[in-house]
C-alpha cells in the first residue's frame, strides 16, 4: 500500500535544512549557501518492509522564532524534523522552548531533533555541551551524509506506527 506523508523541516536559517533534503533526495551537497525563501516541496519514496511511503518533504525557510513560522506550512504535517547547527549556539539555545511549542500545537506529530554539521565539531565539544544536547536524536552531516538517511527512515517509522 502506498501512503503519502508530509514532513516539514524546521529550524533557524542556515542550519542545513535544504542541504539535508538535497543529500537525502539527490545525494548531493554544496558548500554554497542559497537562502530558502518560502518553501520548496520535494517528494521521495521510502520503501519499508510493509509499506511504500511517499514522503512529501517541505523544506521551509529558516526562522529564528518558531512561533513566527507560517502556520499554513505546518498544517497537515505528519512529522517534523527540527534541525539546528551544532556550531552555532543561537540555533539551539531555545531548543526546549521550540519543542514545547510544537508539542503544544501539534500534539500527535512525531518530531526528530537533529544536530547538523557534525563534521565540523569534535567529540570533546559534544561532551562539553552534552547538557544542551540532551534532547537530540541524531547528529548528522549533510556534507558527509552521516545519519541523513537514518533520520528520514526513523521518522517514517514513527509516522506510520
Amino acid at each position: 500500500m502506498t501512503i503519502s506523508k508530509k514532513i516539514v523541516l524546521l529550524g533557524h536559517f542556515g542550519v542545513g535544512k535544504t542541504s539535508l533534503v538535497r543529500r537525502f533526495v539527490e545525494n548531493t551537497f554544496s558548500d554554497n549557501y542559497k537562502v530558502t525563501i518560502g518553501v520548496h516541496i520535494l517528494k521521495k519514496e521510502m520503501d519499508l518492509p510493509e509499506n511504500q511511503v511517499n514522503l512529501i518533504i517541505w523544506d521551509i525557510e529558516g526562522n529564528e522564532d518558531i512561533t513566527a513560522t507560517r502556520s499554513s506550512y505546518l498544517m497537515g504535517s505528519h512529522g517534523f524534523i527540527y534541525v539546528f547547527d551544532t556550531t552555532r549556539k543561537s540555533t539551539f539555545e531555545n531548543l526546549k522552548r521550540d519543542l514545547d511549542h510544537l508539542k503544544n500545537n501539534y500534539n500527535n506529530v512525531p518530531i526528530i531533533v537533529v544536530g547538523n554539521k557534525n563534521d565540523l565539531i569534535t567529540s570533546a565539544y559534544l561532551k562539553e555541551n552534552s547538557s544542551l544536547f540532551e534532547q537530540v536524536d541524531y547528529f548528522t552531516s549533510a556534507r558527509t551524509g552521516k545519519n541523513v538517511e537514518l533520520i528520514f527512515e526513523d521518522l517514517t517509522k514513527k509516522m506510520i506506527s
Binding site: 525563501i37 516541496i41 529558516g62 497537515g76
Partner: protein, 502 residues
C-alpha cells in the same frame, strides 16, 4: 492598448484551476502552467499532494505564500464550496519573491558571519586568557631553577679554571642570561596583561639617562658600523618625574630592535616636547632606522606578542620586545604607532605623559660609592674592548656607562680589532686573552708593531679567566701592561683604568 498591457501584466500572472475532490483537474485556464483536464494535480507537483487531503471539508479557504512550483514562486489560494468543486488560484509573484530572496540572503549571511566571528572571538579570548595565566605561572616556575643554575655557575667561575673552562662557563652564563631576559620579558607582559604591573614615580635626571642610553647604544651601533644619535628637544626639562627604569626599558627595546634590523646607515632617537602644562609634560619619542623595514600587512603584528615579522635566523629573539613596549606605553597612558617602508626603514613613535618638578633643587649628588668619583675628566677617554663574550661586553659597557667619562668601541675578534686600531686612536685597550681567531698574546704584539708605532705606548689590559694558563708570566713580553682576572667587580676595573689615566 490598455487591454494589451493589462493582459501582459496582470492576467497571465494568475491561473484558475477547478479540481475534483480527488485532485483530478476539471478545468484550467493554463495561464501559468499547462494542465490537462482529467490529469491528477498531485502528479503535477507534490505541493498539491499534501494539500488535497485538507480540502475534504466544505467552505474552507487555505492561503499559501511563497511556494516554489516548477520555476515559479507563487501564492496559492485553495477554496472549497458547498456542492461545487474546489477552486485553486495560483498567483505568480516570482519577481517580487526573487528580490526578497536577495535581501534575505544578505541579511542571513551577515548574521551567520557575525555569529561565527563572535564564536571565534570567545574561543580566542578563552585561549588567550589560558595562555596568559599559563605563561605567568610557568615563567615564574622557570625562574627558580634558572637562578640556581646562574648562581652555581658564578660559584664555578670563581674556582680555579683553565682559560678554556672559564670560557665555557661564560657561555653557560650567557645562555642563562638570555633565558633570564626572556623570562623577565614574559613575566612583564603577563603582569601588564593581568593588571599586576605598577610603575613608580621618581624624579630623575633626564639628561643623565640619555647620556647612558647614548653611550650604550652608540657603542652597540658602532659594533655594526652604524651611527646612533640622539636629537633632544631643548625645551624638555632636565628633571622628569616618572618611572626611569621603565622608560629606559622602552628605549632599550625599541633601539635594540632598530639596531638589530639595520645593517647599514643610521639609527636615531628624536625627542620632542609635545606640550608642557603646570607640572605635566608630554614627550614624544621617535626611533627611526634605515633598516630592512616591515611590509604594510605586517605592521600591525609587530606589537603582538610572539609574532616575529622577520622569521629569519639572522634576526633572533623572542618577538616580545615591541609587545612589551606597546603594553608599557599603553599602561603609561601613551600612544604608539609605527611606520615603515620595506627596504627603507622603520620609525616607531610613542609619547608618554610624564611630570616634572616645578622647583627642583640642584640634585645633591648622592654619589656615595667610591666608584662614582673615580673619573671627572673633561675629555672622554677612548677605549677599545676586544671581547667576543656578550656578557663580558655588557658588563664592561655598563660599568663604563656609569662614569660618563669614556668612549667605547667593541671588537669581537682579532681581525675586527686590527681594523679598529688602524682607523682610530684609542687611549687604552681592554683585551680578552682568548679570542675566536687569535690569542691575546699574539694580538698584543701585532698592535704594538703597527706602522709608525702608534700603539707603542698605549696601555693594553688583558682580561683573563684564569691565572694558571700557559705563559701567564710572559704577558709583559707580549706587550701587555696588566692582567685583570675575570670575573671582576666594577671597582676593580675602574681602579685598573685609573692606574693608567693619571
Amino acid at each position: 492598448m490598455l487591454e494589451f498591457y493589462k493582459k501582459q501584466h496582470l492576467y497571465p500572472k494568475v491561473q484558475f484551476i477547478v479540481i475534483a475532490k480527488n485532485g483530478e483537474v476539471t478545468a484550467s485556464d493554463d495561464n501559468l502552467f499547462p494542465l490537462e483536464p482529467g490529469s491528477d494535480i498531485a502528479e503535477f507537483h507534490p505541493f498539491f499532494e499534501s494539500v488535497i487531503p485538507l480540502l475534504a471539508d466544505k467552505n474552507t479557504q487555505l492561503s499559501y505564500y511563497c511556494i516554489h512550483i516548477k520555476d515559479k514562486i507563487c501564492d496559492v489560494d485553495c477554496k472549497t464550496f458547498e456542492g461545487k468543486d474546489p477552486l485553486i488560484v495560483i498567483h505568480d509573484l516570482t519577481e517580487h519573491y526573487e528580490s526578497l530572496q536577495l535581501v534575505t540572503q544578505m541579511r542571513n549571511e551577515t548574521v551567520i558571519e557575525s555569529e561565527i566571528l563572535s564564536l571565534q572571538n570567545t574561543y580566542l579570548q578563552e585561549k588567550e586568557a589560558f595562555k596568559r595565566t599559563f605563561i605567568a605561572n610557568f615563567s615564574h616556575e622557570l625562574r627558580n631553577p634558572l637562578t640556581g643554575i646562574f648562581s652555581f655557575t658564578e660559584m664555578l667561575e670563581k674556582t680555579h679554571l683553565s682559560d678554556e673552562q672559564y670560557d665555557l662557563v661564560e657561555v653557560v652564563k650567557s645562555l642563562c642570561q638570555d633565558l633570564n631576559i626572556m623570562i623577565e620579558d614574559i613575566l612583564d607582559l603577563s603582569k601588564i596583561e593581568v593588571g599586576k604591573f605598577f610603575t613608580k614615580d621618581e624624579v630623575f635626571d633626564f639628561d643623565e639617562m640619555l647620556d647612558t642610553v647614548n653611550f650604550i647604544y652608540s657603542t652597540k651601533a658602532r659594533q655594526k658600523n652604524l651611527n646612533f644619535q640622539i636629537h633632544r628637544d631643548e625645551k624638555i626639562p632636565q628633571y622628569i618625574e616618572g618611572d626611569q627604569s621603565r622608560i629606559k626599558q622602552l628605549l632599550a627595546n625599541t633601539i635594540e630592535n632598530a639596531i638589530k634590523f639595520t645593517d647599514e646607515g643610521q639609527v636615531d632617537l628624536y625627542l620632542k616636547l609635545n606640550n608642557k602644562r603646570a607640572n605635566k609634560v608630554n614627550i614624544q619619542f621617535e626611533i627611526t632606522d634605515t633598516g630592512i623595514g616591515i611590509a604594510k600587512k605586517d605592521l600591525n603584528d609587530i606589537f603582538t606578542s610572539f609574532t616575529q615579522v622577520h622569521k629569519d635566523n639572522k634576526y633572533p629573539g623572542s618577538g616580545l620586545g615591541l609587545a612589551i613596549v606597546k603594553n608599557l606605553v599603553t599602561l603609561m597612558e601613551g600612544n604608539i604607532s609605527a611606520e615603515s617602508e620595506l627596504g627603507k626603514g622603520t620609525s616607531i613613535r610613542f609619547n608618554l605623559k610624564l611630570k616634572f618638578p616645578l622647583h627642583h633643587r640642584e640634585k645633591q649628588k648622592k654619589k656615595t660609592q667610591e666608584s662614582d668619583i673615580l673619573f671627572n675628566n673633561p675629555d672622554k677617554y677612548s677605549i677599545l674592548l676586544i671581547e667576543d663574550n656578550k656578557i663580558s661586553q655588557i658588563i664592561v659597557l655598563k660599568i663604563l656607562a656609569s662614569q660618563g667619562a669614556f668612549f667605547l668601541d667593541i671588537a669581537e675578534n682579532g681581525a675586527q680589532a686590527m681594523e679598529r686600531v688602524e682607523e682610530n686612536d684609542y687611549d687604552l685597550i681592554l683585551m680578552d686573552l682568548r679570542l675566536p681567531d687569535i690569542s691575546g698574546y699574539e694580538l698584543a704584539p701585532l698592535i704594538r708593531d703597527l706602522p709608525e708605532k702608534k700603539y707603542a705606548k698605549t696601555p693594553i689590559v688583558a682580561l683573563s679567566g684564569s691565572m694558571m694558563g700557559d705563559g701567564k708570566n710572559d704577558y709583559k713580553k707580549a706587550g701587555i701592561n696588566d692582567i685583570l682576572q675575570k670575573p671582576f667587580q666594577e671597582l676593580q676595573l675602574l681602579k685598573q683604568l685609573k692606574k693608567f689615566f693619571k
